[in-house]
Symmetry: C2
Subunit: 212 residues, 2 copies
DNA sequence: GTCTATAAGAGGATAGAC
DNA sequence: GTCTATCCTCTTATAGAC
């Protein structure tokens, strides 16, 4: 994984090794054209590199694609790590919801999601890698929050409900807004991230909130 | 749109016109390989027809794809029309949820959704056509149900909450289970359609149910 | 490692006979 | 409408010089 970054030459761009230049170009081309329609020629010219150079670093088109996907998934879901501080359960759920929605609605994240979905039947490792760094971590975060709120007596959710509720909570974040983005339909008017997050938090609280 | 079905010949298969045979073959090939990787040769041989015959009925590859998509979307979402009878709000929401999840979890529906997502950036009409016959109708159904339950005094949801709640409700149906299917990751153990539907209905009831 | 040039083949679309 | 045969472009991947 750690590559020999002997990158002491030229500097028309912020000093990328050839390998990184290829990866960056691959990202652009694959996300724009999709896997099958993307050509190695397009990647080469976008990276200002010859095709042979690409093949010196990556075995074939598929390997390049998988390397790019792994690369970008890690980056796209980094934001999941941060945890906020909060006063009450509603605020905590609301803020996690907003944070998560902003993450998945980012244009690059949407484009990445699209190509992963498109190719996952033929490239199962791609779908799996995405699922493990994205949705799996997100569900862990939600479950942690539920547990923490329970311990602080800010929420009263039975442990056996948690897996189901974590899925439903994340599902609400990925609702119509995300669907529209991913099938390239203009966003609906009148519906905002904040409004949806507010609604989702309220539903959980109505069922499991503690009345003080 | 209405084609001349002079279909009085041969019968090794349940008597399809050439055009229908091509559409059926196109469905198989496009759903298996994705748009770009699918070849007209493959469609031709799967339909037991020459390539020239395909081009006699469809202008080009793209037109064939769009025709197939329109065709299948209509069929896949037909089930949305039926409306059930019910006694109480929880049962009504539960049954709509189960019905909807079964619809979108059907293998053909998942495969169709995948290719539509994959190509929608390049073929916007495809994404739009899908959205209009699927998600739009689904949201109408949910909103109708909310309204009906309100009128029967089985639910007490303010009209201004309905758009948000309809989206959240449908989002819960399209949660982790559907995501796994669409990125080709094996389904989780312990989570069932019934359990998720039960949870989703309960959340709505907890917030908007009428206490009798 | 990086380049230029090229091999080898697949795939969209059409010409022309029937 | 349907077929066979073919055109021509684009694409993956490599050979061989530096």
């Amino acid at each position: 994984m750690s590559r020999p970054k002997k990158n002491l030459c030229c500097g028309d761009k912020p000093a990328l090794s050839k390998q990184d230049a290829v990866l960056a170009a691959a990202q652009e081309v694959f996300l724009e054209a999709g896997y099958a329609a993307a050509s190695m020629d397009a990647v080469a010219s976008r990276a200002n590199v010859s095709k042979a150079t690409i093949y010196a670093h990556f075995d074939n088109k598929r390997a390049l694609f998988e390397a790019m996907i792994g690369n970008r998934c890690e980056a796209a879901f980094e934001g999941l790590q941060v945890s906020a501080c909060y006063e009450d359960a509603h605020q905590a759920l609301y803020e996690l919801a907003v944070h998560f929605m902003r993450l998945i609605m980012a244009p690059e994240a949407v484009a990445l999601h699209r190509v992963i979905i498109g190719e996952s039947p033929r490239l199962p490792e791609v779908g799996e890698a995405f699922y493990n760094v994205g949705p799996t971590r997100a569900r862990q975060r939600v479950t942690e929050l539920f547990t923490d709120l329970n311990q602080r007596k800010l929420l009263d959710m039975p442990v056996e409900d948690m897996p189901t509720m974590a899925d439903l909570f994340l599902g609400m974040m990925k609702g119509d807004m995300h669907l529209r983005a991913i099938v390239n339909v203009p966003p609906a008017e009148g519906l905002s991230i904040e409004r949806l997050a507010e609604g989702a938090a309220s539903l959980i609280i109505a069922r499991y909130g503690v009345t003080s």
